[in-house]
Amino acid sequence: MIAAVLLVACDDIIEVDTGTSEPVLNIDAWVNDKEETQVITLTFTQDYFDNTSPVPGVRGASVTLTDDQGGVYIFQEDTASDDGSYRWRPDPGMSLGRTGTSYTLTVEYNGETFVASSKMGRVPAVDSITFSKQDDMGPRSNEDFYQAEFWAKDIAGTGDTYWIRTYKNGSLLNKASEINIAYDAAQSAGSEFDGVTFITPIRKGINANDEDEEGEPVSSLDPGDSVYVEIHSITLASFNYLNEVIDQTDRNGGLSELFTSTPLTNVSTNMVNLNANGSPVVGFFNVASVSGLGRKFR
């Protein structure tokens, strides 16, 4: 159809001057119960189009995690890297966190105190990972498309919230379009899927979204790739936060603007400045328990 060609929406990259403003403290604190060094990153916000400077790290802050069982975990500044990382290394065989425990993060910087709390939720095990050939990629692609799917069952009882994070060949898939979160076994509280196997979009939400140079999608998997799926328990506040992040970052452009163009707003934060009139702060704190499973695609 001639008409078909004519109605193509276009999506162009443009130059916009968004100005400059005062940097704000950003606390990126997602820790978990894996037996590995836990990192909390303190940085400053940058001008929106500062695409070249490294992210400025925060020096000289004090970062302390406490739990309601009397545990204290002091995160030490990584002065060598100077990128705002504050680390805590568990003793061998130990890890941070126990399901059901409440944690409080306290960050002291420049005479101000910022706090947040998070309760560690429960996670189900990942039962298996399967691979399949995708047959609905349309007539335009000649190549074979493969995708992975994980199988797990939400724990019975409503209100469990999870973030499914996937590593392909050891690298975390962290595009905005790859954020895969679940409320019980589905994508929102309203769906009311409790205690059942995760629904299809979540099970298949572990695949990489990549395109070739022409912008055509490429297969998420090729023989030899490995996939490692982790389920992280997150709080309801974190779940809501990640939904806001999806709204604000996962933009497909083009005609989808007719559907998904919610107004630009600031995503929430659970960090609180104890001085209500003090400096603003952004970022989020969550303590997760993690289950995981990997498999290689042959």
């Binding site: 004519l6 916009v16 929106y48 609905d136 196997t197 936060y241 630009l264 929430s268």
Partner: protein, 796 residues
């Protein structure tokens, strides 16, 4: 209902009505005005009595009634595009006077869009203001996207009407949202007036007789929405001959058949449209992606006798959006209207309407029998609407009636199967009853002054069976959570609201060519359109006012100056100002979950609205070159606690300047051309000024928490269309029975990439650890090129 309002009404009526109680030897002339060629009743025909300087207009069914003292008169009947008819009459008793008008026959004159050769302009004479009537012939002349004549798109050329952008559905009237417009098709409310997202509207121009838009000074007979009223009336169907109209375009084809069923008694029209395969198909998306639609519009009428006539009309339309083999997504409206007109007495015209309307959508994914998801949602209503017009004298008309609407909302019925385990999480239906009564009196005070005043009282009951929730208070702008819930049995009232809605308009003629007018209108809206995106989309739901969600109430004040210029050519000009203020406007928290959410109300925010503007309009009505210039200077704002730090911010459809220029020229008997130019200020948007990363994702941050303080680039475009009439005679010299024409058009002739939206995101490339993430700003143009088209249209 406030008691003082009743006192006020009773007082006024008691002063005014007795003046006409002692009428001595007055007689009534009444009748129906029709088109002589096809028997269509004509709406809005001007009936003028030069001897008294007074007159009336035919109503929506072509009926008029005028009461005059005994005497000799020459009634003048004038109507756009028709030859004037003068009927001398010696009035010594009540008289039936049916009138047939002849369409101006010459090709050249026919195309003269609004060649009213009336000696007086309704624009000056009528108390009506803030309304626009678009003639279907004018609509057909306007260059349209892909050559498809479209009623809603044509409204964009009127002052005070705007649209967020191409492809967005609906239209905005005087700073109101699209969901605040009452869109009526033969009185049935249409809940989604768009096909193919927003590229086309549901009205088939072949079946439409009359289109009228009320932007302010809304008559008391209309209610239920706080912004504009678009009243679309369908053709009755040719009662003289069988007539076939059709057209073949690039996107869809149209065909309509109309004709008599029983001579002099009954006629029908059936009109259908069907788009071709998947028009917005795959060039930019893979797979089986496509979009198509069809619709069917039908109507029939039966005349029992001179006093009683029955009409049945209906609409059925469906859009299909195919995403992939195992996905279903479709939506559409269904409406049906049964109307009975009765001339109870020559002075008393009654109409009883029974109306059904439904909008629904279905969405489904069916991977295999163990994994599927089906979801549907709908709003259904049943309306009963008796309406009476009492033509007291040539100086006084009373209109009164009632409207009862029963609503059923299906927020979502969903059934999911995951790995063989089925989950039904359908939400409860919601029910409501809206009842209104209204009275409106139009009174000529002097040869120059006229007033129309009235009152509509509306009551809304949110009914059981259903669960009512109460929510906690929280930080403004955050999700509220449920404190308690109460179950109500079927028919129990959960929440009830009553709104008195006074309406008043006043006209004063300064001289034969100019008048000033002013009006006040209060309107209320009990059903809310929930949409948090720039453009509305088919999944957006309607939800009733409840114990939590209050009805929106709006007050609009208007004033205007109207003028005609007589001379070699006829010009009509107007300047209007308006101020609209509203309460309980709906907005949304960040991250609002609007679909299939039991606790939707916890995600809604409540605010105030205000809009004001100036509308200038000048139209050249006669001659070889006709057309108009419309300019609107306006502002539309909201104030919602939790958004923009609680300060006023412009709505997404706010446009400071809005200019439209339309010119139509007759080249010769066969060729005519139309051009239009549109300029609007870019709509508001929000920019981030800072950024940060959260778990490797680039997050935009607005350090001032502002909303809509920036603008996307200005919008402008030029369209041109050329129409070629088919030959009227065969080579042999015999006249051709059928009539046909071609329309060649180019939309957006200088191919401007007008922005629909600007958005910010990180580059789609996979971020490299340790490297700064690349931020990008994108401009989306829905139609970023010029669009040529051709269509062939025929009639026989």
């Amino acid at each position: 209902m406030n008691k003082s309002h009743w006192k006020w009404i009773v007082l006024i009526l008691s002063i005014l009505l007795p003046r006409y109680a002692y009428t001595q030897s007055k007689y009534t002339i009444d009748g129906t005005v029709k088109d002589i060629a096809n028997g269509e009743t004509l709406i809005g025909v001007n009936v003028y009595v030069p001897e008294t300087g007074q007159g009336t207009v035919t109503n929506a069914y072509g009926f008029y009634s005028i009461t005059l003292p005994e005497g000799t008169y020459s009634l003048e009947f004038t109507f756009i595009g028709y030859d004037k008819v003068v009927h001398p009459i010696t009035l010594i008793k009540n008289t039936k006077l049916p009138v047939d008008l002849q369409e101006q026959s010459s090709q050249l004159q026919e195309i003269t869009v609004v060649g009213e050769n009336e000696g007086r302009s309704l624009n000056i004479k009528s108390v009506e203001m803030s309304t626009n009537k678009l003639d279907i012939k004018t609509i057909q002349k306007l260059p349209a996207l892909l050559g498809e004549t479209d009623i809603v798109k044509s409204l964009q050329f009127l002052p005070g009407v705007s649209q967020v952008g191409e492809g967005s559905s609906g239209f905005n009237v005087r700073g109101g949202s699209t969901g605040q417009n009452l869109v009526l098709l033969d009185e049935a409310p249409v809940y989604n007036s768009s096909h193919m997202l927003g590229f086309f509207s549901v009205f088939n121009p072949d079946a439409v007789k009359d289109v009228k838009l009320y932007k302010g000074a809304i008559p008391a007979m209309y209610g239920g929405r706080t912004s504009g009223v678009l009243d679309v009336r369908m053709k009755d169907g040719n009662s003289k001959d069988v007539e076939v109209n059709g057209g073949i375009g690039l996107i869809f084809s149209r065909l309509s058949v109309e004709g008599p069923l029983i001579p002099e008694k009954s006629s029908f029209i059936v009109a259908a449209r069907r788009s071709y395969i998947d028009v917005l198909a795959s060039p930019f998306l893979d797979g089986d992606f496509g979009l198509n639609f069809y619709d069917l519009t039908a109507k029939a009428n039966y005349t029992f006798n001179q006093k009683n006539r029955l009409y049945i009309s209906g609409y059925l339309g469906r859009d299909n959006f195919s995403l992939s083999d195992d996905a279903v997504f479709n939506w559409g409206n269904k409406t049906a209207t049964i109307r009975w007109n009765s001339i109870i007495a020559s002075k008393l015209f009654a109409n009883f309407s029974g109306i059904y309307s439904q909008y629904d959508y279905k969405l489904g994914f069916d991977e295999d029998e163990n994994n599927s998801y089906d979801w549907n949602s709908a709003v259904t209503n049943y309306v009963f609407k008796p309406d009476f017009s009492y033509y007291i004298s040539d100086k006084s008309e009373l209109n009164f009636g009632a409207e009862l609407t029963y609503y059923r909302f299906n927020p979502s019925r969903t059934k999911g199967v995951t790995n063989g385990e089925a989950v039904d999480n359908s939400l409860e239906y919601k029910y409501a009853l809206e009842s209104s009564a209204y009275v409106s009196h139009k009174l000529t005070l002097s040869s120059r002054a006229e007033v129309q005043y009235g009152l509509r009282v509306s009551n809304f009951r949110y009914l059981g069976a259903g669960t009512a929730y109460t929510y906690n208070d929280t930080i403004p702008g955050k999700r509220r959570s449920v404190l308690s819930e109460t179950y109500y049995r079927s028919g129990e009232t959960i929440a009830s609201y009553t709104t008195p809605e006074p309406r008043a308009s006043f006209k004063y003629e300064l001289d034969a060519n100019s008048s000033v007018k002013a009006s006040y209108t209060r309107t209320s809206q009990y059903v809310h359109y929930i949409s948090n995106t720039t453009a509305s989309n088919p999944l957006n739901v309607w939800t009733p006012s409840t114990n939590n969600l209050k009805p929106t109430v709006s007050n609009q004040f208007t004033a205007g100056y109207f003028r005609t210029f007589e001379g070699k050519s006829q010009y009509e000009a107007s300047a209007e100002v308006y101020y609209r203020q509203s309460n309980n406007e709906v907005d949304y928290i960040n991250g609002a979950d609007l679909l299939s959410n039991r606790y939707l109300e916890g995600d809604l925010l409540n605010g105030k609205g205000r809009a004001y503007g100036l509308e200038l309009y000048i139209q050249k009505k006669t001659g070889r070159l006709t057309g108009w210039v419309s300019y609107t200077l306006s502002r539309s704002e909201l104030k919602v606690t939790g958004i923009n730090r609680g300060k006023w911010y412009p709505t997404r459809y706010d446009q400071t300047h809005n200019l439209k220029v339309i010119g139509m020229v007759e080249i010769n008997k066969r060729w005519s051309a139309t051009a239009d130019f549109v300029f609007t200020t870019g709509t508001p948007t929000t920019y981030p000024d800072q950024r940060y990363t959260s778990q490797g994702l680039l997050i935009p941050y607005n350090s001032t928490s502002s909303r809509n303080d920036q603008r996307i680039s200005n919008y402008h475009r030029l369209d041109v269309s050329i129409r070629m009439e088919g030959r009227t005679h065969r080579r042999s010299g015999k006249e051709r029975k059928n009539h046909d024409y071609w329309v060649f058009s180019v939309y957006n002739i200088y191919a401007r990439k007008n922005a629909f939206s600007t958005y910010f995101s990180q580059s789609d490339d996979r971020a490299v650890v340790g490297q700064p993430i690349q931020a990008e700003a994108h401009k989306v143009s829905i139609i970023g090129t010029m669009v040529p088209s051709v269509s062939y249209n025929f009639k026989f």
